[in-house]
Symmetry: C2
Subunit: 349 residues, 2 copies
């Protein structure tokens, strides 16, 4: 018998239907390694993010250099670059006035102002977070924090979304390891609803709903994949899709950008650890990860709690999800947590 489960943060419902018969290992892809190797040369030649192509992306807004770099001026000695997206979803501007269309101001629009940046995470084209050294991933997180802090100060920016699309099914055509940062001038209703639910819980119970969830998960243990000094990694009770994974910081903070240096280093290890479990356990699956951080005007807040959501892209969202907003997950979160827990993750550093 399948189950319906409710996400207490959003009140979204999810159907957990393991009877639909997808065991965790059925998601393992068996890629033809030979084929990949043959394509490698062409792929790097065309990649705009590889060293030597710095002019294609334009000037970096942030550059980190390799430790043994001869001089910080040399072009191809970077270890990480943040550049403006060549095809930005939002572009720099300050105009946030609403414009109306139709009678009675029926349709509302505004200028698409904001920022859209790309974090080129590593010079190596075939690297990915799961295979990078700890220092490199720590650099990625440092760049997120630096850019977050810079962008949130710009006029009219309300929300910053940091995300990583890994692989074509997750929406990226470029394999070179990269993340994206979008600073937007509106708070989407989706985020408003999540915040509203968090406020409602806080007003009723007097505590943060995410803090409470962590306590619950630590007691039961059955959905915990791993735990570090500062983070808890779980398969949520209400997982929308197979192997959905959340990284929750133990210290309550509304905004990601305020984490300490110790937490930052710990997060790098935790990220490598969980992505490497997915990499080895599911043979390098496509995935999206998103850093959920409070909107600008909701920080600080005792009710909202920043966290990372990882969604492996192992199925297609179809008409039912699109029509009802109910997600259909054909796997059991507890089983998936157990599966990932048992994968030997080769953690660097």
């Amino acid at each position: 018998m399948p189950e319906l489960r409710q996400n207490p943060m959003t009140k979204d419902w999810v159907i957990i239907a393991p009877e639909r018969n997808k065991r965790p290992d059925q998601f393992v892809r068996h890629k033809a390694q030979e084929k990949i190797r043959k394509q490698e040369r062409e792929e790097t030649a065309a990649c705009p993010f590889c060293p030597g192509k710095e002019d294609i992306c334009g000037e970096a807004v942030l550059t980190y250099y390799q430790q043994d770099s001869p001089g910080q001026g040399a072009k191809s000695t970077w270890s990480l670059r943040v550049v403006r997206n060549k095809f930005p979803a939002l572009v720099e501007g300050e105009e946030k006035a609403r414009i109306t269309e139709g009678s009675g101001n029926f349709f509302i629009k505004m200028s698409g102002m904001g920022f859209h940046e790309v974090v080129i995470e590593h010079p190596g084209h075939f690297q990915t977070i799961a295979t990078m050294p700890l220092e490199a991933v720590e650099g990625v997180i440092s760049s997120y924090i630096e850019r977050y802090r810079a962008l949130i100060r710009r006029p009219n920016i309300e929300l910053i979304t940091i995300f990583r699309n890994n692989g074509p099914r997750a929406g990226t055509s470029i394999r070179h390891p990269h993340s994206q940062i979008i600073a937007s001038p509106i708070v989407p209703i989706h985020i408003r609803h999540v915040v509203e639910e968090a406020v409602r819980y806080y007003d009723t119970m007097g505590t943060c709903i995410y803090c409470n969830m962590m306590d619950q998960e630590k007691v039961s243990g059955k959905r915990v994949i791993s735990e570090s000094e500062h983070f808890l990694v779980i398969a949520p009770f209400f997982s929308r899709s197979p192997f959905e994974t959340w990284i929750l910081p133990k210290k309550h903070r509304a905004s990601f950008a305020k984490i300490s240096t110790l937490e930052k280093r710990d997060l790098a290890g935790v990220l490598i650890n969980i992505l490497s479990r997915l990499y080895h356990g599911l043979d390098d699956p496509d995935y999206n990860y998103m850093i959920h951080s409070a909107p600008y005007q909701e920080d600080p807040a005792d009710y909202y709690h920043w966290h990372v959501q990882i969604l492996p892209k192992l199925y297609e969202v179809a008409g039912f999800e699109l029509g009802s907003g109910i997600y259909l997950n054909s796997t059991c979160p507890e089983e998936n947590a157990q599966y990932l827990k048992e994968i030997r993750a080769d953690v660097s550093g």
Copy 2:
């Protein structure tokens, strides 16, 4: 400069960014027709929905027969069959009590009761709505209505979602033309929010927001793809994805299942017309369509208006959409409407 646009029904924001440079015809797929023909024989042999395989799907809950059928008992003379899904998302039951898990009733779940049916729309494996005769599509809509009416009367059913996944990118592995019907015992928050916005508009303006939108679209005309006696077909102002298309009934009704016989026949023609425009205009794209109809307890209602949403699957939802709930559409709805309007749609009947 891209634009941010707001859906007045859901308050969702959409970025319209045609500068990202996807012209309508860039979405045209150029499929190798030869390859397809070679696969045909194997595919039909394995198809559980083809005539002669009736035993695989089990007893039909509804069967329509071919007009020239020798006898209604004969197995393979059907024109349409509705069967229970072999791998249902929800299964028959009456228990809707919530079960809690964790201290303080933190996690809430319930039995996954409901119904999940498959409409096998036509005996022909390679048919699709765009290529079917009018009578067949009218039959499909009749079956939706019959099953809707039967399922909505079952205990504890709150919402019925009727949808069609066309092609692998839209989430179906079976090419044989089929739709699905899911009757669920909960109203998802996504639908609640849509209804709440409709109520808010109604309370302020005294009219249905969907009726108003139709009036607006008829005046401007620039997003209208086609119009029949009973329906208006538009590219919404706030299209989430390339070629998103809505079919809006001119007569206000909260529930789809209450349409008249005349509207039903008209809808069949309209559905063929628009899907055939997409079929010819984009070379048979994968798509999902969903019939949005009011929850059981919101019908009748002057504020909610049933309609059909068609979402061609031409891109992957990625980390930004998943993280923020803001959709990124790299095309312009007005241009897409114009493109589809100019396609010669071969309407049968």
